[in-house]
Symmetry: C2
Subunit: 432 residues, 2 copies
Amino acid sequence: MDSQERRPWGIGVAGLGTVGAGLIDFLGGDPAFAPAGGLFHVSGVSARSRSRPRPVDISSIPWFDDPVALAQAKETDIFVELIGGSDGPAKAAVEAALRAGKPVVTANKALIAEHGAELAALAEEMRVPLKFEAAVMGGVPAVKIVREGLVGETINTIAGILNGTCNYILTEMETSGRSFADVLGDAQRLGYAEADPTMDVGGFDAGHKITILAALAFNCTPDFKAAEVEGIEQIELLDIRMAKDLGYRIKLIASAERAGDGARVRVRPSLVPLDHPLAQAGGALNALFIEGDRIGRFFIQGPGAGAGPTAAAVAADLADVMTGGSRPTFQAPVQDLPPLQRVDPRQMTGRAYMRFLVRDEPGVIAAVSETLAEAGVSIESFLQKPSEGAAGVPIVLTTHAAPEATLAEAVERIAGLSAVLDRPRMLRIVRI
Amino acid sequence: MDSQERRPWGIGVAGLGTVGAGLIDFLGGDPAFAPAGGLFHVSGVSARSRSRPRPVDISSIPWFDDPVALAQAKETDIFVELIGGSDGPAKAAVEAALRAGKPVVTANKALIAEHGAELAALAEEMRVPLKFEAAVMGGVPAVKIVREGLVGETINTIAGILNGTCNYILTEMETSGRSFADVLGDAQRLGYAEADPTMDVGGFDAGHKITILAALAFNCTPDFKAAEVEGIEQIELLDIRMAKDLGYRIKLIASAERAGDGARVRVRPSLVPLDHPLAQAGGALNALFIEGDRIGRFFIQGPGAGAGPTAAAVAADLADVMTGGSRPTFQAPVQDLPPLQRVDPRQMTGRAYMRFLVRDEPGVIAAVSETLAEAGVSIESFLQKPSEGAAGVPIVLTTHAAPEATLAEAVERIAGLSAVLDRPRMLRIVRI
């Protein structure tokens, strides 16, 4: 079982942001890569600016202005892509590395979610591994768990919290009683959120991650376009409070569910019962439930981002590459994999939370509940709080399970009632 | 990336209990082993009785009376050992398979915890894999997570609930208010506990599992003899209730902690704060915290046993074997690994729960607290309940952190007080 390969592996690292610098630190330290015999060195680096101050010293590592040149360099035995972005230099460099027959390790969730099928086909044609543990849940080996630990298992549902920024914002809104905009502003000043926060708060980052997990879980190619994505920008403090009064916490839940002959992949703010493990994952934590035919349900929770956890995930992939093995990128050679079969969302059933701003006058609750009954939606709980301002009274309710089409229709009907003052708000209640 | 190996793999399965039958069912169904091309078949089975009724039909599978003969059979390409027991036929068959150059997959925690080093040496000499995902936490890929997902990470602590039977018994005692003996009897009648429950309730099963995880986490060979093991047989309902009044739940915690130049591996009933995720893992669930330098803390929870989860873990190992790769059995070739360096437990510090049965008379509490102060132990909380019977009054307390030697000495001194009627009880409070 000793390694056939005894010459040092040259590792080329493109992208020297937080994760890239963390990886250089990791590889330069004593990473105890015992399975690989510890025989590797950083053979080259590339980033936008050579002179930008960094927490690690890169002066002794060969510098490449062009990540494509680094990917193709003869010293590069494994190419690590930490540039980010679904297209542009990241994609060009990964393609160049694969075409040159080099194994690729990437933390780039957008790249894999949007171009995973074509990159896997190229990797398989060139017979080199393409690995992306760091793309999902940072240091928690979610990709390895689904790809290898649960291989052969029929996974029915994956659902969890995959974006730490959104989880931090929702947690802060609840604990500090401040608005989404206020908390986001603070998070940006503290460096917890990007200057352009759309990828995070719009749900796209979580969407990329659940797209990747769905491909591995359901034996299909990743297809980000098949994901339904909704972010947390519209979440108001009032909903957080009202949900809590009803026994729920609002979380941005990314989920992939098998349904009929297909599956549904989506990201949306959802109500989670307060005693549910997903409700208890606060701050920047990530958490994930996986439910399968044989294993039942299991739950993982940990830090989803940060230099240390993400570098550890990249290192785990490097060790996999260095110790051989010949798995396809996804669960089978890509030409054998179908795309994700989307099911019609309107056929799915679910439970909902609804909020309406109504005139404070007799008969309003009767009108709302009759409208729901006519639409075929059954109420589970109902809450009306005293009016806090002049502009009407908020009422919230949760429903029993009903077809999504029925729920949407009921909301539309209620929106049309004369006593309803504002656009109704509907959130889903988690199933798992 | 397509498999070089295109002939079907013959899988020989020794042991047809719950897990063995579950595996035959799994392999005979549609396990979607896409990474391996699905090219395998069960080439032979062996068990103590051929005619015993089983939930799967084995009539068409070649039968071997002797597991060693199955291990050596030319049709056996991978040998799966599900016989159990650290010695006897399980060990003989595994050794025979390895000597014959066959990869081995086993669910046998006792075998790996007690003989892992010598078996790994044999596997490495013969250059074949020896795999044991199913030995720890059933369908939760804990071995893969520590061995591969966290490779290169400096793990400091692993702590969790690794025995479902004990967790079930403790949960039932709390919810039903019945004694250990009563609940164990029921569990035996329902098949949740063995006729001889010593391996489970004595803490040995959890001890085997944490020994294996400690070897993988701390880069050493497994050494069950280095584990300190205490079971749950002495846990009284009174302790469960008193602990709860103080805000804790009693769980059987298996832990491996890095300390100084060595480590400490132990299993013992411990108090866990009620809001801690480990306290919330009830029934037969398993749960595990892993804490490392870079990844921070992460938590996994799932079913630790049962035919389905355990068969899924065996199948994951089979897929690993079929897709190649050449990692050593533990984190490095066994000749490079030291044994676990035990630290002196008396040098460790910790917090404790203590229970004393005392005479209901003035001055007793003062005497107890003075004795603790003299020994250098500081009290965190103190609880005295009204006497329920004639035989004295129970008092319980929790301490701040103190050296283990100091805690033990304090308990001895209190045991010597004339007002103390019974042997004091001391339990640890979890650190993680």
